[in-house]
Amino acid sequence: MSDAFRDRIDIALTVNGEPVEARVPAGRHLVDFLRLDLGLTGSHAGCEHGVCGACTVKVDGEAVRGCLMLAAQADGAEVWTLEGLTQSGVIRDLQDAFVARNALQCGYCTPGMLTSIEELLNRGGVPERAEIREHLSGNYCRCTGYEAIVDAVESVARARAEKGAA
């Protein structure tokens, strides 16, 4: 093998605002890196082929599949996981709405769900229910039947829009 290719890669990135340096195996995906190497178990490794959405994390401002990005590719990136989003308080209202509306039961999908919703809410405005459903089409929930989740998103979008207008 040509020595241009490495089977362990040195990376430096920020995770939830903190600088992190690590050496990762070439094939390790971002969610395993976050969970196994950094102990950030908020993001879940579900289907590991991009279908279920439980691994959704924020990379350089966008929601992405943590299982479909290599840790090696996160060199220089700014990564936010549910732990960081929770601590920073940016989705406090959304998390409260999830509890108030029973938008979670087992909680497995919730971190990915919240991360995807954060992206939608950041666009501003009050999305139609169909648009909320469409945006969440890549996040599977096997408990709630989605109705309560859509309710929660809608109520937070309304509240934020009113607050912005006031």
Binding site: F5, D7, H29, Q73, S137
Partner: protein, 277 residues
């Protein structure tokens, strides 16, 4: 299961990427958005690849207008295509396709070049570029070459890209005044690959119709196009049915997909009429 990569290297620019592929001795594998490749690696459908990560090569990303052509870099992401004003104006078919491709988080990383190189028979972009008569640009050890969309897709996951070559971008002829583009597909859940789908264009010169999910690669339905040019809708539906070769699998039988293709053609035509009024 977990991915097993043979190695990883991040390419600084196109030259570097081609050099890396050259050094990989046949084991090289281009990594773009990773939205198909890393899924396949996680499932161990492929392992031991020497990954050449091209995802940060800025020169391969973006959209520009160049005379009568829209030039789209291979690394332009689905989400970027979906919100690009030049594309909405000059190749609205691509804008429409994006809403059908996977889900938001996947569209944030997946690239149009990756989608074309991957050549899933049910993918939207391959059929779009076929309908649009786009030209695909390749660069490789023997230099650059252009391949017409019609000559690019060879079979299931098979394209004209040779060992050591990289798809750098595509050129799409800009839509003429009055040209109409519609895309229709049927999928069981939003974001799934289509059971069957159609890209339909109406140009002054005539119709263009490309079908996806109904054969080993996207199909240009010439017989149906001719019937449409003569205003013969029933004839076009019948012709289309003869031109496609749909697979039967756990998602849908071949007969059902064939039926869907006809239904979708009628719907696409009524979309065209609706657009004009």
């Amino acid at each position: 299961m977990k991915a097993l990569a043979g190695g990883y290297a991040q390419a600084r620019d196109l030259r570097h990427a081609l050099d890396l592929l050259g050094q990989a001795d046949g084991m090289g594998r281009v990594l773009a958005g990773g939205q198909s490749l890393i899924a396949a690696m996680n499932m161990r459908l492929t392992s031991g690849d020497l990954l050449v990560d091209i995802s940060r090569i800025a020169e391969l990303r973006g959209v520009a207008l160049d005379g009568g052509w829209l030039r789209i870099g291979a690394l332009t992401r689905h989400a970027e295509i979906g919100r690009d004003a030049l594309i909405a104006r000059h190749a609205p078919l691509l804008t429409r396709a994006v809403g059908h491709i996977a889900h938001s988080a996947i569209r944030n990383r997946g690239t149009i070049g990756g989608s074309l190189a991957h050549a899933d028979p049910a993918a939207e972009f391959p059929a779009c570029v076929l309908a649009l008569e786009a030209v695909l640009h390749l660069d490789g050890p023997d230099g650059r070459r252009d391949v017409a969309a019609e000559d690019f897709f060879l079979g299931v996951f098979e394209t004209a890209i040779e060992e050591g070559e990289i798809l750098t971008g595509i050129s799409v002829p800009v839509a003429q005044d009055g040209e109409r583009h519609v895309l229709r597909e049927a999928a069981r859940r939003s974001g799934d690959y289509a059971l069957a789908g159609l890209c339909l264009l109406r140009r002054t010169a005539g119709h263009r119709l490309a079908a996806f999910g109904v054969g080993p690669c996207p199909i240009l339905a010439r017989g149906a196009m001719e019937k449409l040019d003569h205003g013969d809708i029933d004839g076009a539906v019948a012709a289309l049915s003869g031109e496609i070769d749909p697979p039967g699998d756990t998602q849908a039988s071949a007969a059902y997909r064939r039926h869907l293709a006809g239904v979708l053609l009628r719907r696409a035509l009524s979309d065209l009429e609706g657009e004009q009024s």
